[in-house]
Symmetry: C2
Subunit: 252 residues, 2 copies
């Protein structure tokens, strides 16, 4: 019996990503964090601040994966519509979450403007939600069933992930080792394919680069099993050595 | 009659993005390039090196949008399956493109290993394709109908985009102006919403940040019409000034 593989989807919400203005950092951040939890990020969608687009993505991905994360659109301004879209997707009303209101009242009590109407928007949640605290801005993330609504600002999402660490059920984390070589990947393509084929529980990714006027590549071997991983890495290193290529474990 | 808005989808293909190992740069690069062509990037999907996942995304997005771009998976190794997946999605065979074979033969003639079998994989295209040249690596991008297959390495994709500049039909480019202020966005949320509402052909995005221990925000006003844009920017600046907030045109 093979162990269950836990999977997650991610929806990145925001016109600023689709316009090219903002370079997304949340995909890599959430992907790396999920790896450590033993959960595999399997699909990401980037959608605009558009109700229909968000609702469609939420309703497909929340069913398809064990967990669904979203980033963006939970702030105080008119373009922050993630809470409304998730509530619409699930067919539940939006309510003021009293615990969130209290957190915000506390956070804004000594700040100019106090807890005004715009800020109170950040206490709105789909009915039935729990909060995901963050120390940075007072405004919490939101969990509803298997859906986790995180901030668009990467530093705030980092705080929310920190609070969630160890609370999600996952499987064996996918572990990885990298072997780098100053070789064109096209010179070793057969070697990579055959090495992967000979090691059942392993995948090999090949990531070429150009640096200092030379071609090279990093080969990333991934497995859920440490012994399988080591065996595959050893085989690949032996094959590279036999073919006369220098290599560096850990990557270059 | 309002002018047609040209839209594009993007599929980023690669386990390395979903594992968090590689930070994607192609979304922002392609988004910015499309803006200049008068085409709006409307949706992005990031999928694994997995045939079914790529086929599904291709078949949905190529119909939904005027243009579909993909990045990744067109190299010489076993995990490069984008050409096969796009051919499967369209129900056409994969063939060796003679012009691509000639380009690769020329590029590899003085390189170790020459045009070996792995490198010849990069001459495989879905039947009926045209090539998108790149000066950097010899291996071309591929166009088939409204689908554009680009490299995963951002520098190579940049070359391919350069070759495509001005060749795609688009509409009026979305133009933008940024107004920055050292203000919490929650202090001006009403102002932003009302300003947007008063200017039909404009959207305002609000992007908060924390720097040097202070909160601030950039407000990005977007429109396809320069006069509408200016009018909206002027209104927002006037409102910020009246409320006593310093602001910087161009953003902070």
């Amino acid at each position: 019996m093979s162990a269950k593989i836990w999977k997650a989807g991610l929806i990145v919400i925001g016109d600023e990503i689709l316009s090219g203005r903002t370079h997304d950092k949340n995909i890599a951040q959430i992907a790396s964090w999920l790896q450590v939890q033993g959960i595999r990020l399997t699909e990401v969608r980037v959608v605009a601040d558009d109700m229909d687009a968000i609702v469609e993505a939420v309703n497909i991905l929340r069913v398809r994966y064990d967990y669904l994360f979203t980033t963006g659109g939970i702030g105080p301004t008119h373009d922050d519509i993630t809470v409304d879209a998730v509530a619409a997707a699930l067919g539940v009303p939006v309510v003021i979450h009293e615990e969130a209101r209290a957190m915000l009242a506390d956070y804004y009590q000594d700040k100019p403007g106090g807890l005004n109407e715009a800020r109170l928007r950040m206490a709105r949640t789909p009915e039935g939600s729990e909060l995901i605290p963050n120390r940075m801005s007072g405004a919490p993330g939101i969990r509803l069933g298997n859906i986790y609504l995180m901030a668009g600002v990467p530093g705030i999402t980092a705080q929310m992930l920190d609070g969630l660490t160890g609370t999600l059920e996952g499987g064996a984390p996918l572990i990885a080792e990298t072997v780098g070589a100053w070789v064109a990947e096209s010179q070793v393509a057969d070697m990579l394919r055959e090495t992967e084929k000979a090691h059942d529980n392993c995948q090999i990714g090949s990531y070429p680069f150009f640096r200092e006027g030379k071609v090279g590549a990093n080969f990333v071997i991934r497995s859920t099993d440490a012994a399988d991983l080591k065996s595959c890495v050893d085989s690949l290193c032996a094959a590279l050595g036999e073919a006369g290529f220098d290599f560096t474990i850990g990557g270059i």
